[in-house]
């Protein structure tokens, strides 16, 4: 499973608990739409760091990095290649 699909599965399953009716696309806004809030970010971070064995430092914990599946994937991939 690709990084973006893993993230999508987590968001739709564990954060939204399967309540989303439409598919969640890579560019869909997660913050503006209210899919991810402050608590959701912490839950998502725990998943990302555990699933991909990475550690995201404070200066990268920026809202814009969590704006969409695409930006989250970029953040994760950046750490995977380090």
């Amino acid at each position: 499973m690709s990084t973006s699909d893993s993230i999508r599965d987590f968001i739709t399953g564990e954060i939204l608990h399967g309540t989303l009716k439409d598919p969640l696309h890579d560019q869909d806004s997660l913050i503006e739409s209210g899919i991810i809030d402050s608590m959701g970010v912490m839950t998502l971070l725990a998943f990302l760091e555990d699933k991909f064995s990475i550690q995201i430092p404070g200066d990268e914990l920026l809202p814009e990095n969590f704006e969409s599946i695409s930006t989250i994937t970029t953040l994760v991939d950046r750490h995977l290649v380090r």
């Binding site: 913050i31 209210g34 970010v41 912490m42 839950t43 725990a46 404070g58 914990l61 920026l62």
Partner: protein
């Protein structure tokens, strides 16, 4: 997982316990009655390097890991009967961790050492008159201006607020954005034009901890005093809460263990109907539950501490520790009063003070209800 203390941790705990009993406990009944912040004792704690424990040596700290810091505050909560002072010190450490994790180079290298030494007192300002549990409904606003921000608003019930030299202040920076991206954190110093601290508010418990209003009226904050990046406040807050909900429960668990020990001793010494009251199950079962809760609380606490020490996310584990230990302490203090009967109700015997102090623990740093909300959400609701 083995949560046994290392020899070094045991030595640190013994030093802190001896120090607290010798230097921090005398006069607590009077200090509690007067409700004054014990600045001289703060200085003694600074000399004992309590604030230095979790920070790197390069910043003037002692470079211990977070589990050791938790073990140290666990000992402090156990031995120090001045729970207000203990809470005040824990607040200082939490502010330091936020600065260390999110501060810019100057904030970390130039400003943090005065926190680590205890020379300056820090506060964290989130709560407002109209927003408590819904912290992000805050109204304090920082508008962008040339080279910085203009801060306006009022914070209330801020721990250390009336005595703080510096405060980490959370404010809205973009009303159009959601919480994520719309809130930022600023470092404000006493003496900054437009910044004023109110008098200590009189409280039921934790009376040596000062809580009060911080007001900002066209208070200019240079861009260099933002902590983290603009819009990062909510994430910073979420991260800070995980550390806070580990360090503060450490103090509470220590207090629970002290209450338990004192109850066991009292139940052995106090006789009624011709025998020690501990022989009656009405008493012994209350004490048994204190023991069960202390044991389970210890596992929850050090599980959370271990995860944070490994820089792992631990929203579930820290909320669990905070909820369980604070509620256990409150119940233990209620039972401690009941076990002593009339004596428990008398100020002289110092049990009622523990009860008054314990009630706050289920309110600050996120109420028990908010912890349950977090846990329920992670559980899938």
């Amino acid at each position: 997982m083995n949560f046994a203390f290392t020899e070094e941790q045991k030595e640190i705990r013994k030093t802190i316990i001896d120090f607290a009993r010798r230097d921090l406990n005398p006069g607590i009944v009077e200090r509690d009655r007067l409700g004054v912040f014990p600045r001289e004792l703060w200085k003694k704690c600074a000399e004992m390097r309590i604030f230095a424990i979790p920070f790197p040596e390069s910043l003037g700290g002692d470079g211990f890991d977070f589990v050791t810091a938790v073990a140290a505050f666990h000992a402090l909560g156990y031995a120090c009967k001045d729970s207000g002072l203990v809470h005040s010190m824990a607040t200082q450490i939490i502010c330091g961790i936020q600065l260390q994790l999110f501060g810019n180079k100057e904030q970390v290298s130039q400003i943090l050492p005065d926190l680590v030494s205890g020379k300056l007192i820090y506060a964290q300002a989130i709560t407002e008159p109209g927003s408590g549990s819904d912290a992000f409904a805050m109204q304090t606003f920082a508008s962008k201006t040339d080279g910085g921000y203009i801060l306006n608003g009022t914070k209330t019930m801020i721990s250390n607020g009336p005595v703080a030299d510096r405060a980490l202040v959370f404010a809205v920076t973009d009303r159009a954005k959601k919480t994520l991206g719309g809130i930022s954190c600023f470092l404000v110093s006493k003496g900054d034009a437009g910044f004023s601290a109110g008098k200590p508010m009189e409280k039921m418990g934790l009376r040596t901890l000062t809580n009060g209003e911080l007001s900002f009226s066209d208070c200019y904050i240079p861009e260099s005093s933002i902590v983290g990046r603009e819009g990062q406040g909510a994430i910073l807050f979420g991260e800070a809460m995980e550390w806070e909900r580990t360090l503060i429960p450490a103090c509470l668990l220590g207090e629970l263990e002290r209450v338990l020990e004192e109850c066991v001793q009292y139940a052995k010494d106090r006789k009624a109907f011709g025998q020690p009251i501990g022989d009656f199950q009405a008493i012994s079962h209350k004490i048994a539950m204190m023991k069960v809760n202390a044991e389970l609380g210890r596992l929850a606490l050090y599980n959370a501490a271990y995860l944070k020490s490994q820089r792992k996310r631990a929203a579930l584990e820290t909320s669990t520790a905070k909820l369980f230990i604070s509620e256990s302490l409150k119940q233990a203090c209620m039972d401690a009063v009941q076990i002593r009967g009339g004596y428990g109700y008398m100020v002289e015997y110092e049990v009622e003070r523990d009860l008054r102090d314990s009630i706050a623990s289920t309110i600050y740093s996120g109420t028990s209800e908010m912890q349950a909300n977090i846990i329920a959400r992670i559980a899938g609701l």
